[in-house]
């Protein structure tokens, strides 16, 4: 059985040791920096909300422009045009395809 005073001394020793634990000397700086960061975040809630809103809005504008451009197109004339081609004036491609026979 351990003596009572021994137990008390051991408890006192532990408490003394933990009480004397050195704290980070920059703890107050850390605290103030955290508070400043939180305040900064609070001060600009508009930008936090606006960012996704602007992204969605710009995407919607691009889609709308695409649809508008697509529906704005109308064919110049519905009357079928006849293509008049003078075959005699067409270049003879065979000339270019038979290069290996050239001397």
């Amino acid at each position: 059985m351990k003596k009572e005073t021994d137990i008390e001394n051991r408890i006192d020793e532990l408490i003394r040791e933990e009480r004397e634990t050195a704290m980070n000397p920059y703890l107050s700086t850390r605290v103030m920096a955290t508070i400043a960061a939180q305040q900064e975040q609070k001060a600009r809630p508009a930008t936090v909300v606006l960012k996704p809103v602007l992204a969605v809005a710009s995407l919607a504008v691009v889609v709308w422009m695409g649809i508008t451009a697509g529906t704005a197109y109308t064919a110049g004339s519905t009357v079928q045009a006849t293509e008049l081609t003078n075959d005699a004036a067409t270049e003879n491609f065979a000339f270019y395809l038979q290069t290996e026979k050239e001397e």
């Binding site: 408490i15 704290m23 980070n24 703890l27 605290v31 305040q39």
Partner: protein, 189 residues
């Protein structure tokens, strides 16, 4: 808005200082942090027994105090209100880190010996301290609170009573029972 220098903040009465912080002089809060950080740290150490955790919790305490400073009505002294918050934040943090306990115990035992003592001696001392910490941590909540406030921060019973919102006699009883419980636990671990 009038600007105050650090010495001006220091010379202010606590209630005036708090009012000026609420008026937007955030820098004044640094004076309160510097004044009470060591006390809060010691109380938190009593709960968590680890320096790094105690520093993180102390920081959390002050951030919480800053956020709820407007709710401080001055019915008790600022230190009483602050220490009450420190106790609550420490208890909440302990709830959150229960899962980490096994790992931190193992890590503490595996720390390298300091050099002056033999590894066996070092290990047995660590085991003994761990046993003492366990005995303190295993005290019923109110006994533990009274014990930590009175032994770690060496607050008078009157102030402990104010923090715990009980009578001085009740604090005395809690301290006696805490002492008895610790002896029982350490006699028959």
């Amino acid at each position: 808005m009038k600007f105050f220098s650090f010495p001006e903040f220091i010379s202010m009465q606590e209630t005036v200082l708090i009012q000026s912080i609420l008026d937007g002089h955030t820098a004044g809060f640094n004076v309160l942090v510097k004044k009470y950080e060591a006390s809060v740290f010691r109380i938190v150490m009593g709960y968590v027994h680890q320096k790094e955790d105690a520093e993180d919790i102390t920081q959390e305490v002050f951030v919480k105090v800053y956020q709820s400073l407007s709710s401080f009505q001055g019915r008790s002294s600022f230190s009483t209100w602050l220490f009450r918050i420190a106790v609550h934040v420490s208890l909440n943090a302990l709830q959150k880190r229960k899962r980490r306990t096994l790992w931190s115990m193992t890590a503490a035992l595996l720390q390298l010996p300091s050099g002056n003592k033999s590894p066996e001696q070092e290990l047995s001392e660590k085991a003994e301290k761990s046993q003492l910490r366990h005995a303190i941590d295993a005290l019923p909540e109110k006994q533990r609170m009274a014990f930590i406030l009175s032994r770690y921060e060496e607050l008078p019973q009157r102030e402990v009573a104010l923090i715990m919102d009980v009578s001085e006699g009740a604090v005395e009883q809690l301290l006696l029972r805490a002492k008895e419980n610790l002896k029982k636990k350490l006699h028959h671990p």
